[in-house]
Amino acid sequence: MIGYALTYALGCFGIALACNLWRVLRGPTIADRILALDTMVINMIALIVLYGIRQGGPLNFEAALLFAMTGFVSTVAYAKFLLRGNIIE
């Protein structure tokens, strides 16, 4: 049963990634693209966790943890650049 659920979830997140890509490519504003990239990171975390469940090993969860801990830093940096120009002031 869990196998079907995983396949379904992976498919959903794969489609979500494709949707994110659409937004990254189309915009229209730069903020849309940054948000889309941030969403992409979150979807990736989900994908890593799902693969981790499928493989049954703990290693993937650490990658997910690192992503979760640091993934937002890039987004903030992009945003801060837009707002202030300098990201470390």
Partner: protein, 949 residues
């Protein structure tokens, strides 16, 4: 050992003058002299054995596989030359102490001099021709430094360049010749080659080898038609001229001809090539010398002429001629070095070397006059001085040598050469010192201090002694050296009177004719000036200029400073090589079945392609391209995770964050758009190249992955030995800190250096200068949001900090067995600290930073080094690791490895390097008028001076 030490001593001693010049010029000269005297002493200790016929060997294996060994040997010939080099070197050091003015950097001079001396001693003591070639090239290089010592003079620089070009080219020819010789003889050891006369002379390769080696000798010894560089090298300070161009460097060619004499000489080829060149050089250079007004130019051409004389004698290939050649080498070194030093004294005191402006110095500089006169008379070949003795021997040999059946030809030209020699030698005295005292010297002349004329005086004493009592003073040395040259026992008979021989009449004719020439010098000079002559320097430049232009064209065509050009050239080269290999080799498809494809990897692949294409299309908008780069980085990190490379995935995730921050920091001060610089054709071309390379590597990877490796993979070894050898189950980490720990050590050092370079570069930008001015005048273009340090971000990052530190420690500690390690942990902590910089501000964070990042890098590298050195104490090689298991009561049994200490070093270096690089760049913004916040949570308010720039 001690022979190698004699050759090495000047090189080691070359360090001293540069250091001791701080203690004064006397200390510097004394140290240099001591080094040379020590080498001379060591040589002297071997002299008795060598003179009794022994040959001393020292053998050190260097690169035996190449036949290159540091083998030295000392026989009579080596003793003579090494003695000349070191003995005259000692006098030159004394002379230079007084000659160089206080403005000349004396430490440099003596360092160059000792380097040169070491190279020369190396040549004459080498028993291995490859080693000899190394020293030969070293003399070319060190003499370049010496000739160009006065860097501010264009003549000096040009003369040095010309000398290097000519002797360097000759050296290249000689390398080829020597290699051929070594191939024929089957060994590169001189002792072996010298025994293989029959084999070498019978070989088809004898003539090519001979011509190539002679090219090297002739260029070095300034033989016609390569003689032109020597006069131009006279732009050097006089001690250099006296040393290089009388006693040593130009004699290196003669030395080699003498050294090779037993195997190369005695054939008609040798005779016609060597003797003819020598004869032509002797006559032509002597004639030119007569018409030179510059004292040093006169001496330079006379040197060329005398070198020609010795070359000719060596070319005869008879034992008696070889004896005369060796004897003349000794005599020439004494009188020519003395004359050069005297010319230097005249130049030093009167500030001119022009014979037209001199004259009458006899009364003003009596000591110099006496020394110069004796030396010049010896050069002219006036009895009873030593120059007369060797000239008689030369004329005697010439008198019964026929050239192509013509008995008269050689004697006639040799007499002519001797006649010119008498004329220019006497002119040196007559026009320089005799005649009335003048009133228009550029400087009032007087004799120099004792220290300056002491060196030439020693030489003059020596030449008089040899002249008066040749056999007791020099006979033994000539016997030993000539014996070594000819490879047999030799007993020279040097005497003043041989009876009424043809040589005597030729000598008389030369002296008489020389006097007549000198008296008719004025009209002859006018005729000389009126006749057109080839100007060597113009011809030389004419040859070199097109070559330089061609070289510059090639260099600038390939290396024009545009990165796209380099990429294009490199890529096209690789693609062409790959295509050639693919088209000419046989190949077939792989046999492995492809793995099934899931939906998600396909989506990821599509994301990667789409983001890359978008990046290419929109790269003019730099910020937008950074967003696309973010997508690419994300997929790459995911790829590593998906393809079972968790260590790489963890690293890549963190590297992406640091990269984005770094690029955004830089982009703040860069134009936000890339201007279009290329046309459509150029873009299509570059696109085609890129596509070819991409398709090529894609195809290559496909073919590689669909077949089994042709060789067993090294992965198996590491997988099998990681646990037993390195004590860890994470093979990647064990490789990094243990198996290839030395590589990692190098890498973290480079990383630390790179960060320090970034720091140094920004430091330079921030110092007063145009870049700094532009920064000070820099203003933010667009409107800024008021929120400098958003509250939510500050709170979030402070909450994350302890968690991130804990994750870092966790990843570090378990790195040896599971994905992680010092490198990833360093990045985790660095990103956590970076968050604080971004959220709470540069000022707030800097104020809470306890340790300088430079120190982190240094401590990291030191700890890693200490971990490596530690294994020495256990008697193991550098970076051998050890591990053991420890049980602390409340914990389970755990492993401790010395590799962990090393990993701490890696951790600290990575942390320090990343932080130093980013902090350095963010300092630029601080300089650009950015106000550093003292408190967190601050916002820009109109009027408070923060946001209203």
């Amino acid at each position: 050992m001690s022979l190698a030490l004699i050759a090495a001593l000047p090189f080691l001693g070359a360090l001293l003058p540069g250091l001791l010049i701080r203690s004064g010029r006397n200390a510097c000269a004394l140290a240099t002299g001591t080094v040379t005297a020590l080498a001379l002493l060591m040589l002297g200790l071997h002299a008795p054995a060598v003179l009794s016929g022994e040959v001393i060997h020292t053998r050190i294996e260097w690169m035996p596989a190449l036949g290159l060994n540091a083998n030295f040997f000392l026989d009579g010939l080596g003793l003579l030359f090494a003695g000349l080099i070191l003995g005259i070197g000692l006098l030159i050091i004394l002379y230079a102490r007084f000659y160089l003015s206080s403005r000349d950097p004396m430490g440099q001079f003596y360092t160059y001099l000792l380097l040169f001396q070491g190279a020369m001693v190396g040549i004459v003591l080498s028993d291995n021709i490859l080693l000899l070639l190394v020293f030969w090239e070293l003399t070319s290089l060190s003499s370049f430094l010496l000739i160009g010592y006065w860097k501010h003079l264009p003549e000096g620089r040009q003369g040095a360049r010309m000398a290097l070009a000519v002797t360097g080219t000759g050296g290249l020819a000689m390398i080829a010749g020597m290699l051929i010789l070594g191939q024929i003889a089957g060994s590169y050891d001189l002792s072996v080659i010298l025994q293989s006369r029959e084999a070498i002379q019978a070989s088809d390769w004898y003539l090519p080898a001979l011509v190539l080696i002679l090219l090297g000798c002739f260029t070095k010894s300034a033989q016609f038609p390569f003689h032109f560089w020597l006069p131009h090298a006279m732009a050097a300070p006089t001690p250099v001229s006296a040393y290089l161009h009388s006693a040593t460097m130009v004699k290196a060619g003669l030395f080699l001809m003498a050294r090779m004499w037993p195997v190369l000489a005695g054939t008609p080829e040798w005779f016609y090539l060597v003797a003819t060149t020598g004869l032509v050089t002797m006559v032509v250079a002597a004639k030119i010398a007569l018409f030179k007004d510059d004292l040093k130019a006169l001496l330079a051409f006379s040197t060329v002429s005398h070198l020609g004389l010795v070359t000719m004698l060596l070319g005869f290939g008879t034992k008696a001629a070889a004896i005369a050649a060796i004897f003349h080498i000794i005599n020439h070194a004494t009188f020519k070095a003395a004359l050069f030093m005297c010319a230097g004294i005249v130049d030093h005191e009167t500030h001119t070397r022009d014979l037209k402006r001199l004259g009458g110095l006899r009364r003003l500089m009596p000591v110099t006059f006496a020394l110069s006169t004796i030396a010049a008379l010896s050069m002219a070949g006036v009895p009873p001085l030593n120059g007369f003795l060797s000239k008689e021997m030369m004329l005697e040999e010439v008198a019964h040598t026929a050239w192509a059946g013509q008995v008269w030809l050689m004697p006639a030209f040799a007499t002519l050469g001797a006649l010119f020699s008498v004329a220019y030698s006497l002119r040196f005295i007559a026009h320089g010192f005799l005649g009335p005292v003048r009133k228009d010297y550029p400087s009032k002349p007087h004799d120099p201090p004792f220290g300056m004329w002491a060196a030439p005086a020693v030489l003059v004493l020596l030449l008089v002694a040899i002249g008066l009592a040749p056999m007791p003073v020099a006979g033994w040395l000539v016997d030993a050296a000539a014996g070594a040259t000819t490879g047999g026992l030799v007993h020279a008979h040097i005497s003043h009177w041989h009876g009424l021989t043809p040589a005597l009449w030729m000598s008389v004719a030369a002296i008489g004719g020389g006097l007549i020439l000198l008296s008719a010098h004025r009209p002859l000079m006018r005729a000389w000036l009126a006749t057109p002559r080839p100007e060597a320097k113009r011809l030389f430049d004419g040859v070199l200029e097109p070559l330089a232009t061609a070289a510059r064209g090639v260099t600038q065509g390939l290396h024009d400073g545009a990165l796209s050009r380099y990429f294009a050239i490199a890529t096209v080269a690789v693609v062409t090589a790959g295509a050639a290999a693919f088209l000419t080799g046989s190949h077939q498809g792989g046999t492995r079945a492809p793995t099934p494809v899931d939906l998600v990897p396909v989506v990821g692949w599509f994301l990667l392609i789409a983001a890359t294409v978008a990046l290419v299309l929109r790269h003019h908008d730099r910020f937008l391209s950074l967003v696309f780069v973010g997508v690419v980085g994300l997929i790459v990190s995911m790829g590593f995770a998906y393809l079972s490379a968790p260590d790489l995935a963890l690293t890549q995730i963190l590297v992406e964050v640091a990269t984005v921050i770094l690029l955004l920091l830089a982009l703040n001060f860069l134009p936000k758009r890339t201007p279009a610089e290329t046309g459509l054709a150029r873009r299509l071309r570059d696109g085609a190249i890129a596509c070819a390379a991409g398709l090529g590597s894609g195809g290559l990877i496909y073919l590689l992955m669909t077949r089994n490796a042709a060789f067993p993979s090294i992965a198996d070894y590491h997988l099998a030995n990681a646990k037993t050898g390195g004590g860890g189950t994470n093979v990647v980490n064990v490789i990094l800190v243990d198996f290839r720990g030395f590589d990692t050590f190098g890498e973290i050092t480079v990383l630390g250096i790179a960060a320090l370079v970034i720091f140094a570069l920004t430091e330079t930008v921030l110092r007063a200068g145009p870049a700094n001015d532009r920064l000070l005048g820099w203003s933010q273009r667009h409107r800024q949001a008021g929120d400098r340090h958003p509250l939510m971000f500050v709170v979030a990052t402070r909450m994350v900090l302890p968690i991130a530190l804990m994750v870092g420690i966790y990843i570090f500690l378990r790195g040896h067995n599971l994905p992680g390690g010092g490198f990833i942990a360093g990045l985790v902590v660095a990103v956590a600290a970076l968050m604080q910089y971004m959220a709470s501000g540069f000022g707030w964070t800097s104020a809470r930073k306890r340790v300088e990042y430079h120190a982190l890098i240094a401590v990291g590298v030191l700890i890693a080094a200490a971990a490596g050195v530690g294994s020495w104490f256990a008697g193991r090689p550098f970076l051998t690791s050890a591990y053991g298991y420890v049980t602390l009561p409340p914990l389970e049994k755990f492993e401790l490895a010395t590799a962990m200490v090393f990993d701490i070093g890696v951790f600290l270096t990575v942390l320090g390097a990343v932080m130093l690089a980013l902090a350095s760049i963010s300092r630029i913004a601080v300089r650009a008028g950015e106000r550093v916040s003292a408190t967190p949570y601050d916002v820009d308010l109109p009027g408070d001076g923060y946001g209203d720039r």
